[in-house]
């Protein structure tokens, strides 16, 4: 999937200069995912967090764009069962009290195919600034210049300690890498 997206980069989202307004997109949740990975000594724990909702508005002409994403933390999965329980438990995401995570970014600007997206992420009820790197692609099967179906790949990292998610800090690293692949349909 990501390989395909990378191959598409060369034919990405040209020509867009004529556009000068925000385009609203609906998330195709079934074909989108938020993946995370965190170091566990010499190993890596991987998993996914389902996306509950997303409101994406992009101005391809360089005007302000916005993203609001809500994740279902309580539905998070992990590469092995105990890690999943630990992730959702009170020492990490505390999903019984905080079943959702959110990412909100307003006013960022999209370049030709990439953007730095400074926003606010809320985990365990704690909100902290984070900047994600984003790449935008046309989806497979669309014509050049067709912006009706887009794919967005965003990546970044957060510190667990910043959000009080400090459980098992002696075993599991603080930095959590996040990879988001969002498939968007124009509304």
């Amino acid at each position: 999937m990501l390989t395909f997206l990378c191959l598409c980069a060369a034919v990405a989202v040209a020509p867009m200069g004529a556009m000068a307004e925000q385009i609203a997109y609906r998330l195709d949740a079934a074909r989108s995912q938020v993946a995370y990975e965190v170091a566990f000594d010499k190993d890596i724990i991987r998993g996914q967090i389902p996306i509950s909702s997303a409101d994406v508005r992009i101005d391809f002409a360089g005007g302000p764009s916005s993203v609001r994403v809500t994740l279902n933390a309580a539905g998070a999965t992990s590469s092995f069962p105990f890690a999943e329980q630990a992730l959702k438990g009170p020492k990490v995401l505390a999903t019984a009290s905080y079943p959702q995570m959110t990412f909100v970014a307003d006013g960022f600007r999209v370049g030709r195919t990439t953007a730095q997206v400074p926003g606010q992420v809320t985990i365990r009820g704690v909100t902290r600034p984070v900047t994600l790197s984003a790449q935008l692609y046309r989806q497979q099967g669309t014509e050049a210049g067709d912006l009706s179906k887009m794919s967005v790949h965003m990546s970044g990292a957060v510190s667990r300690a910043d959000f009080g998610a400090t459980g098992w800090a002696d075993m599991v690293a603080d930095a959590v890498r996040i990879e988001i692949v969002a498939r968007l349909d124009r509304i």
Binding site: F40, D41, K42, D43, F80, P81, F82, Q85, A86, K88, G89, P90, K91, M171
Partner: protein, 176 residues
Amino acid sequence: MSLWNTEDRFGLVTRVLHWVMALGVIGMLGFGTYIANMTVNMSNFHLYAWHKSIGLTLLLLALVRIVWHLGSRVPKSLPAPKWQEALARVVHFGLFLLLLAVPLTGWIASAATGIDVVFWGVTLPSIAPASEAWEDAFFAAHGVLTKLLLAAIVLHIAGAVKRRDGTLRRMVRGQA
């Protein structure tokens, strides 16, 4: 070879329970020390599950041993100075208490982490709320009680070896 204790000898059931638990408990002291100090990763994470399953098995054996002890005749002690008899009684009582308390505190602390306690593949109902305060308190208690258990075992072995009156032989062969 009788299964039952008599007035002057230990039966097979008592002796098998004693030595199986002795091996299990001493092995677990070493095993627990090892996993408490290891660097945890995917390749050794399963050792926690083994520790919990073996520990709970020893808890069950301790309960069986206590029921057997209460329900069967206890052979008379071999003659010894009163202070030795008194000390032996205190150490035996302490051992039984610790054989229950050590696995119980470990079980409660594990449950308080919010992660399932799995006993040989069977997930047990949680016996404690998911709480860092409980987890910290009961893991601390588990550590302290384990050291007390080690001290009690050392005293128990020292007493058995020092007496040289057939007490140790009676637990090995049944009679002095």
